[in-house]
């Protein structure tokens, strides 16, 4: 027979077990009334259990005429609420040039700030791309470490007189990619078989970008009912801007900012989303002709709320 203390303890544990499943869970990238969708050109400011698979990319054609197609994935697992680790990788097909895997990329990311009334959130992360984990000639022979900060701000806190602007949100990302080796040396042979030392600089690159998005789901829930087909209530028209600026160990003539402007649209369902964007190169160094990127994204916190979709601890 259980003592009174044991019964009390058992009751407390039972009550706790009954209450715990009803303790509100947060995930996605949510700040107050705002849900920030997963974006393609830069990362969103949230940390959640999610899988992007596949991300299919046809980059703007390079100036030498090589055609490229990329397929990649990214999986994020939360460790504790607000802290997650992601693993990403992808395969590239070049024509001409064959195909191969890139180096495995990991990121530890922490959502350190959320201001619900002002729909603002921010995260910091450390991204690492690991050498010798991809196919030779398709991956760098050195690690690259990138401290990153991600931010998002919705404009739902604007006064009612500016209702038409309240569905707008911006997100931004800033990161500095630092190679573990400032240069890579290799021996190359000319047509006569004479060896020479080739030294390639591995530049430190400032990655920066932002998105401007207009959420019809936000409008429907917070501003005015969106009429027409149900499809419209799920759409987020978006334009992303993603740039890379070499800032250190830059080879002569290489200090040019490259990047893409990415107009597109995101369809947000309850447990997944799909996005498609054009890739418009900002200059000749960024490529020629317009490319495209599409991504299917699953929110595991919604699909598997009691297993894969919740933090480890």
């Amino acid at each position: 027979m259980l003592s009174k203390t044991s019964w009390a303890l058992a009751g407390a544990i039972g009550a706790g077990a009954a209450i715990l499943p009803l303790a509100p869970a947060f995930a996605h990238a949510i700040a107050g009334n705002r849900i920030f969708p997963a974006t393609l050109g830069i990362d969103d400011p949230g940390v959640g259990d999610e899988l992007a698979l596949p991300t299919l990319t046809i980059p703007p054609q390079s100036s030498d005429g090589t055609r490229e197609f990329d397929a990649s994935f990214s999986y994020t697992k939360t460790i504790v609420q607000g802290l997650g680790i992601s693993v990403s990788d992808g395969k590239t097909w070049l024509n001409p040039g064959g195909n191969g895997w890139g180096n495995i990329d990991t990121e530890l990311k922490y959502n350190f700030f959320v201001n619900a009334p002002h729909e603002f959130m921010a995260s910091v992360g450390l991204d690492a791309t690991w050498a010798y984990t991809g196919t030779k000639n398709f991956s760098d022979p050195f690690n690259t470490f990138t401290p990153v900060i991600d931010m998002g701000k919705g404009f739902g806190d604007l006064p009612a007189s500016l209702n038409i602007l309240r569905p707008f949100a911006v997100t931004a990302q800033f990161g500095l990619s630092i190679p573990s080796e400032p240069h890579t040396s290799s021996i190359v042979y000319d047509d006569s078989g004479n060896p020479s030392l080739d030294v390639a600089l591995n530049p430190t690159v400032f990655n920066w970008g932002f998105t401007l998005q207009y959420s019809l789901p936000y409008m429907n829930a917070n501003v005015s009912e969106v009429g027409g087909p149900d499809l419209l209530k799920h759409l987020v028209p978006i334009t992303e801007f993603a740039f890379q600026t070499p800032v250190g160990h830059v080879p002569p003539g290489g200090q040019v900012t490259t990047g893409t402007i990415q107009p597109g649209v995101i369809y947000m369902a309850d447990t997944w989303q799909i996005a498609i964007e054009a890739l418009v190169p900002v200059n000749g160094a960024s490529g020629k002709r317009v490319g495209a990127v599409a991504e299917l994204h699953f929110f595991f916190d919604d699909i598997f709320p009691n297993s894969l979709g919740k933090p480890l601890f």
């Binding site: 009803l22 509100p24 947060f26 789901p217 501003v223 005015s224 309850d270 447990t271 919604d302 598997f304």
Partner: protein
């Protein structure tokens, strides 16, 4: 990874997604009175239709005037025929003016969402 393997993974995820679509963040789909809408008769209740079932014990609706004065409402409940509809009774007839509905909802899988909108009672 071959394209066939990737297709199989995507198909498996699509199946999982379809099989578990009842669990997600509760997002407001429709409201009565309508979000941003105008009514000519004071509503007797506020009905919020969400994308998922909600748990009324952890969800709530408040009603305030444009000046922020709280209006009396009943306890939140769900429609007996549809647990994705959160309902509160309005405690008294609303005078003409702009009113703000502020809600928070905990879906049956414990995810929390929140929102707010205005509606107008016309003279």
């Amino acid at each position: 990874m071959s394209r066939r393997s990737m297709s199989r993974i995507i198909a498996s995820l699509a199946f999982a997604m379809a099989a578990t679509a009842a669990f997600a963040h509760a997002q407001l789909q429709k409201a009565v009175p309508a979000v941003g809408g105008t009514v000519t008769v004071s509503p007797t209740e506020i009905r919020l239709k969400f994308s998922e079932g909600v748990e009324p014990r952890f969800s709530g609706i408040t009603l305030t005037t444009e000046a922020g004065v709280a209006q009396p409402t009943g306890q939140p409940s769900v429609d007996p025929a549809d647990d994705s509809v959160l309902v509160v009774k309005v405690g008294q007839a609303l005078k003409p003016g702009v009113y703000t509905v502020t809600w928070h909802a905990v879906s049956v899988d414990t995810h929390r969402t929140q929102g707010g909108f205005n509606f107008t009672v016309a003279p």
